[in-house]
């Protein structure tokens, strides 16, 4: 555009402002990364990186730094939550956009938006006082990987539903009306035309939801049980990377503190991989 239209002086000021804000935002990300790296270095310079996965256990005070049980717990709880929430979230969006009667449509969407706005600690508290005792009647202690998955699923459900809804909105109306004019059933149109056309948007929503699930701390801390171990069943207690940082940071010193920053670094890398994947799939789809 710049080559076609000449810029007024207002435009030029605006551009400087925009560039500055963009620089500030990217600068913050860079600073966070440098900070994490800087705080992690005291430990990383003393032990080999493989020890983070090969040590016998996580007892940082005694010099054992195995992060892999917690990495596994983070991955399992995130994938579990996605598995539970994805079908529900997409169905919810399909319902509100294509099946809900007009009087219900808006109210339902507001309800989902409200669900997205509930603070995570409220979900955690509900999980600890209601869901955990309920699950404990089947298999004590009730706080477990499964409880964490269910709470996380509940938390990311509105994210998936709202982004899927926005993706459906982006599908040109003419697709829908032309298909309907051909006499296809409503479900057939949704399944074969709307869903494929909206899949890039839905997929971005899923990645956003996965990012939220990976980063969630308070709610998971309250319901996952926090024992550092590889779970052998969904009823086992697990500790995620974020919960580990929150549990131990207040009291950690020296190498222990540094090890917690290493887990922060690992989390940041996981999110980066997720962002990379999203980008890759977007390009691959086009």
């Amino acid at each position: 555009m710049a080559s076609i239209l000449s810029l007024s002086s207002t435009d030029q000021y605006l551009i400087i402002g925009l560039k500055l804000s963009a620089l500030l935002v990217s600068g913050v990300v860079l600073l966070v990364f440098l900070f994490l790296l800087n705080e992690s270095l005291p430990l990383l310079s003393q032990i080999s990186i493989f020890q983070l996965f090969s040590d016998s256990s996580w007892h940082p005070v005694d010099g054992f730094y195995n992060l892999s049980p917690m990495l596994t717990a983070t991955l399992l709880s995130t994938m579990g939550a996605l598995l539970v929430a994805t079908p529900l979230g997409i169905s919810s969006a399909v319902f509100s956009r294509y099946y809900a009667p007009a009087f219900l449509k808006n109210g339902y969407r507001r309800l989902i938006e409200l669900l997205a706005g509930i603070p995570s600690v409220v979900y955690g508290f509900w999980g600890l006082t209601t869901l955990a005792p309920l699950l404990a009647t089947f298999h004590p202690p009730g706080v477990s990987l499964l409880t964490a998955i269910l709470i996380l699923a509940l938390m990311i459900l509105p994210t998936i539903a709202l982004t899927a809804d926005a993706a459906f909105l982006g599908v040109p109306t003419v697709y829908y009306s032309s298909a309907a004019a051909l006499g296809l059933s409503r479900w057939r149109v949704i399944k074969d035309i709307v869903l494929p056309a909206a899949r890039a948007g839905i997929f971005s929503g899923l990645m956003l939801a996965a990012g939220r699930a990976i980063g969630e701390t308070m709610a998971v801390l309250m319901v996952a049980g926090n024992v550092v171990q590889f779970p052998t069943s969904a009823f086992d207690s697990v500790r995620t990377l974020t919960a580990n940082i929150a549990l131990e940071m207040a009291y950690a010193m020296g190498n222990h503190r540094s090890a917690l920053f290493v887990s922060g670094l690992v989390l940041m890398m996981m999110v980066s991989v997720l962002v990379g994947l999203t980008e890759y799939f977007k390009r691959y789809k086009q």
């Binding site: 600068g27 007892h59 005694d62 404990a136 801390l221 024992v227 207690s237 010193m253």
Partner: protein
């Protein structure tokens, strides 16, 4: 454009550093008290320090953690003005002076509906190391025990391990918690759970219709009163340590930290104020 970007980056970075240095240079102008030591005592003293600063605007209180031993060493080597230790002075530290500002005690708690009314020292050790896994074996219902432990680094964990002579790696926990509240909530909702928390918070919650009960230890009831009169075994003093008889601003702060003016801060952190 690249040059401008670089310039902006440096301006941002510089402002971060400027903030840090500016803070340091201010404190040199007035009286400064440096306290180092126990990470249990530090948050308590930091709160007291804030109130003290409000009363004495020309004084700055600088609190740093590093463990009780560092607290003792720093005050010996004159690196700090006052040391903080979550234990009594040892025999080889007798040249120093200690002032108890609060007591810390922990209680084993179980669900109110649990028929067990007392556990021996050995029973608690066996439960926490996984040798006893059913309440039946200690006179309770036939149901598996849910063992609740604290996350690494918490002072209550240190005190518990030290008292029962355990290593954290020996403990077979089912649930690991962060703060006292989480432990109390877990025991109140999971009928077969056992946990240990600060006595102050446990007694408060049990008195407010939360479904927990405090178990006595070695025949002595777990209560704030018994921690205060030093009969409850699972407790320790929180001390301030000096090299010589304190004077001036050091004396003023120690007297302030041991006075009734800070009882609400001590209660707020679930410690027990000393007798006045």
């Amino acid at each position: 454009m690249k040059k401008i970007a670089l310039l902006v980056f440096f301006v941002i970075a510089a402002s971060f550093y400027w903030g840090v240095f500016a803070e340091n240079s201010v404190s040199n102008e007035s009286h400064k008290l440096i306290l180092t030591g126990s990470s249990t005592v530090a948050p308590l003293v930091a709160e007291m320090g804030k109130r003290f600063e409000a009363l004495h605007p020309d004084v700055r209180i600088d609190v740093q953690t590093g463990g009780s031993s560092r607290g003792v060493n720093d005050v010996r080597n004159r690196i700090s003005d006052i040391g903080m230790a979550s234990r009594a002075l040892k025999a080889d530290e007798s040249e120093l002076l200690s002032f108890t500002i609060a007591m810390d005690g922990i209680s084993v708690i179980v669900n109110k509906n649990n028929p067990v009314t007392a556990l021996s020292r050995q029973q608690i050790v066996d439960i926490y190391t996984g040798k006893i896994v059913n309440w039946q074996n200690v006179g309770g219902n036939n149901s598996p025990i849910t063992v609740v432990n604290k996350a690494e680094g918490h002072s209550t964990l240190d005190l518990f391990l030290h008292y029962f002579n355990l290593n954290n790696s020996d403990i077979k926990a089912d649930v690991i918690i962060g703060d006292n509240q989480q432990g109390i909530k877990t025991v109140a909702t999971v009928a077969d759970a056992i946990a240990y928390v600060s006595i102050g918070s446990a007694e408060y919650e049990a008195g407010h219709e939360v479904n927990i009960k405090l178990l006595p230890l070695e025949g002595i009831a777990a209560s704030v009163e018994n921690v205060r009169n030093q009969t409850f075994p699972l407790s320790r003093p929180l001390n301030l340590i000096t090299r010589e008889q304190p004077s001036g601003i050091i004396k003023a702060f120690i007297e302030f930290a041991g006075s009734e003016q800070v009882n609400d801060i001590i209660d707020g952190q679930y410690f027990v104020p000393v007798k006045h």
